[in-house]
């Protein structure tokens, strides 16, 4: 008995000792994080050095320091903010406009065979169409106003979410439906207590993909049919040959994408506490 109770702590102590070791010699979270930060910083430093020494063409690759300078200028003179907020607003509205129907249709398709048979081919048939190729049509239908931009984001969010939701509901072990039926759950209760939580990991994957696609599409849509937004800012900078501003636009979009993925990871953790320490 004594051996069985004292045995478990031993390996943990070992692992901890290994983690506490030097960051180069031992694998560990601290070293991973350091590498993740160091690699881009080193690359930026190389870029800066190459640009300053004239080894690369500064017309295409302005030194990072000048890009940051430009970014600071655009922030202080207020030019950046309207573009940023216009894009964020379209992203936010489009996200919900795409997400809600995708979830509802996805879960219903996952639960109901006839609905799946009716809508499945339609959705998987239109899915491979490059969403950017829809832009002219969307502009034609919804005009040059806000709606067309929101619709583009919504389309981007809709497909990955609906497909992942259907797959998520379909992969729930049939036993869980048997359990809910045996314990007297109504259709709505099955939806709430089995289908949605069971499919949640897959749904969140779909949302992450959809949010990324939405970001791509908003940039493209703003380049063509808008007078505001980060996409417009980048496109306009190209026409004015302000290369630094283009890079600022790209940087801001990258930051939005990163913050979005952090946010969604946090939402996942809140929605799925049962996977918290996986």
């Amino acid at each position: 008995m004594a051996t069985t109770t004292t045995a478990p702590p031993a390996p943990t102590a070992q692992t901890r000792a290994r983690r506490r070791g030097g960051w180069l010699s031992a694998p560990g979270r601290g070293r991973d994080r350091l590498l993740a930060v160091a690699t881009p910083l080193i690359l930026l430093a190389i870029w800066e050095a190459l640009a300053r020494s004239g080894a690369i063409d500064v017309r295409f690759f302005p030194p990072p320091s000048s890009i940051l300078e430009q970014m600071a200028r655009l922030m202080s003179n207020g030019e950046l903010w309207p573009h940023l907020f216009a894009s964020l607003r379209r992203l936010f509205i489009g996200f919900w406009v795409g997400l809600v129907p995708a979830l509802v249709i996805g879960v219903v398709m996952g639960l109901s065979r006839p609905v799946r048979a009716a809508l499945g081919p339609l959705i998987s048939g239109t899915y491979p169409i490059p969403k950017s190729a829809l832009l002219p049509l969307i502009l034609l239908i919804f005009g040059l106003g806000e709606t067309s931009k929101v619709v583009m984001v919504a389309i981007g969010v809709f497909y990955p979410v609906v497909l992942n939701t259907v797959a998520g509901v379909a992969q729930i072990a049939p036993m869980y439906y048997d359990v809910s039926k045996n314990f007297g759950a109504s259709r709505w209760q099955v939806f709430k207590t089995v289908a949605v939580p069971g499919a949640m990991p897959s749904i969140m994957t779909g949302i992450e993909l959809g949010a990324g696609l939405g970001l791509i599409l908003i940039a493209i849509a703003e380049m063509v049919g808008a007078k505001s937004g980060l996409g417009y800012m980048i496109w306009n900078a190209w026409q004015l040959y302000s290369v630094e501003t283009m890079y600022v636009g790209l940087l801001v979009i990258a930051i939005i994408g990163y913050v979005m993925s952090l946010l969604l990871a946090e939402v996942s953790r809140l929605l799925m506490p049962w996977r918290a320490d996986r």
């Binding site: 359990v179 045996n182 314990f183 109504s186 089995v194 939580p197 049962w274």
Partner: protein
Amino acid sequence: MTGHATEAPTPGPVTVTGATTAAADAAADNVKVRIRGLTKEFDVKGRSVTALQELDLDIPRGQFFMIVGPSGCGKTTLLRIMAHLDSPTRGEVEVRHSAEGRPENSMIFQGDSIFPWMTVWENASYGLRMRGVDKAEVRDTVGHYLDKTGLTDFKDCYPHQLSGGMRQRVSISRAFANDPDILLMDEPFSALDEQNKTLLQDELLRIWDETRKTVVFITHSVDEAVTLGDRIMVMTAHPGTAKAFVDVPFERPRDVLDLRHRPEYGEIVYEIWQQLRDEVSRSQQRDRAATTSSRRRFGR
């Protein structure tokens, strides 16, 4: 030990009765489950396969009824039909419902059946919550069964934080807390190791002893059948039907370890094996013939 066998499993020598005398119990009005001419056919690649054939069965109120049979004998199908998760091709299954607004049956499923996305508490209270039972009552009932199964300290844990034995305890709590007329158990301990299995059998008997509800328990383990049951139905292999009924004379409450020491215990186990031997070899031949058999063989 107060032996209070309501259904009076005759103490003394092992009694094995033929399948036909099952109807004898029908005369008594304390029959809880009555099955007549139950047949279940499945379509397998356009061919009709009979899983259950002309099964007659009476289970008296409060009996701990065990079903033993080789793999593929249709015992799980039988239980699923009793749980209304499957429907019979012919014949009838009647559960005499006491009709107090309580559910007719609750099932303890084979393997991991508790919801991974719910805490122990949410899992154990599932049936009551779905029925909209009053909150205070849910708290009392679920609290009681979590206490009984030693899960109180783990009530806010998620299943992946628990061992296999603890997860099955949650499943037991969920079924008992739902307070059904009859409890259906489908090899609930088959995935557990020998020590955990013995522990859980003991716990199950203690919990069952409080209410003495009618239980229909499926197993492929003869030991488990003799340890837990009042009466054991041995099933034939493919198509499944009743081959013999064996009464278990041990008094209640029982002590699992103590029971296995007794000479009668070995006698009954031997008796059931006699009944089963042919069926197991028939089932294995069929399995071998089917070549693509990934099924668990009878025994260990």
